[in-house]
């Protein structure tokens, strides 16, 4: 099966001659995948790509959409989110590539963009792209994403590199521990993409429902406080998504979230998240929570 021609994208002058852009898997599309480039229009589900910097998010984005977003190894490369689409098993998906971050706890603009997209954009599925060779370090962000949403698939990416280093990852055990599907991938070579999309499809259609691992706090007092705050937030902002996550940030004294609650940004974003429903990644760069 051959892929339809990717839609040509305007490219910066230097890009055409740059070697890194040829790195992404633009060969034959994996089975069942039709890349739709930047084509807009209706879609069945929105998929967000989250992950630490340098885990191959943009490469996966390119593999899925056929676009040629710049792939490279430097901080802040994906300055904001970029969007594309693909079709898989007859369903059309919009993909949103988020900036690479180590965390979602608002210490930089990148983190704010990624965080607001996950909390208020409410993607149907979030693929957390992790580096199989540095798994331990990547699980921090994974757990933070799982605090926001259950609808997650973990792409255990760079699995070819891990193999070369003699690292074997027990993906089934990891899936059990995290409560969400884990699929080994090598995005650059197209390895595991069909399996990844199968998992995305299952999560998008909600079958079976994923039950993400939630961190619990040893002190029962913390849990009680979280529940109390959650209930108050529910009364104040009935449409606020990821209430538990917001409650935890408030308890922590996150200045950005506190300010957003006080000045009404949170209320505005909460309403927008519902009125636009799924399919729109909420906040833009100009209106971020922190």
């Amino acid at each position: 099966m051959t892929a339809p021609q990717p839609v040509p994208q305007p490219m910066e002058p230097g890009c055409a001659s740059c070697t890194v852009r040829h790195g992404a898997g633009h060969g034959t599309a994996p089975r069942g995948l039709f890349r739709l480039g930047a084509l807009g229009g209706g879609h069945h589900a929105v998929v967000a790509l989250a992950g630490n910097p340098n885990t191959g998010k943009s490469t996966l984005f390119n593999t899925l959409t056929g676009l040629r977003q710049h792939v490279g190894n430097w901080a802040g490369k994906t300055v904001s989110r970029s969007e594309g689409s693909f079709r898989f098993n007859g369903r059309k998906y919009k993909v949103v590539d988020l900036p690479g971050t180590y965390s979602l706890l608002s210490s930089s603009t990148d983190e704010e963009i990624a965080r607001d997209a996950l909390v208020f954009g409410r993607p149907d599925v979030t693929i957390v792209v992790v580096d199989a060779t540095r798994l331990e370090r990547n699980l921090n962000l994974t757990l933070q994403v799982l605090e926001i949403t259950d609808r997650v698939v973990v792409a255990l990416n760079l699995i070819d590199e891990a193999r070369r280093h003699g690292i074997a990852v027990d993906d089934r055990h990891l899936a059990r521990e995290l409560g969400v599907p884990v699929v080994a991938t090598a995005a650059q070579r197209g390895e595991g993409i069909t399996e990844l999309l199968d998992a995305v499809e299952r999560v998008a259609t909600g079958e079976p429902a994923t039950r993400a691992r939630r961190l619990t706090y040893p002190d029962p007092e913390v849990d009680r406080a979280v529940r109390r705050l959650e209930a108050q937030l529910g009364r104040l902002l009935p449409h606020l998504p990821a209430r538990r996550w917001v409650a935890l940030r408030l308890l922590e004294g996150d200045p950005g979230v506190e300010r957003a609650l006080r000045d009404g940004t949170l209320a505005r974003l909460a309403t927008r998240a519902t009125s636009e429903g799924s399919g729109v990644v909420g906040a833009t760069g100009s209106e971020v929570v922190a």
């Binding site: 540095r134 370090r137 921090n140």
Partner: protein, 84 residues
Amino acid sequence: MTLDQLVEHQSAVVVGLDCRGPVRHRLMDLGLLPGTQVEVRMASPLGDPVAYVVRGSTIALRREQASTVRIETVGNGTAGMEPR
């Protein structure tokens, strides 16, 4: 002892962080939690910042940040995983 006092190729275990707010978060996000092994990979020509190996990744910290990380030395070794 604090992390900024560690010399090249020496490794240590983090015992605590003496900072608060965003700096603390950042260090924790980079994997510096109590029990984590850290090794000095190299220092920049002027000695600041210094590159450390933490959980298989190399990270650079300014002296000021490193001085907030309390450590215990464990002699020479390869940093990476937490002790089992």
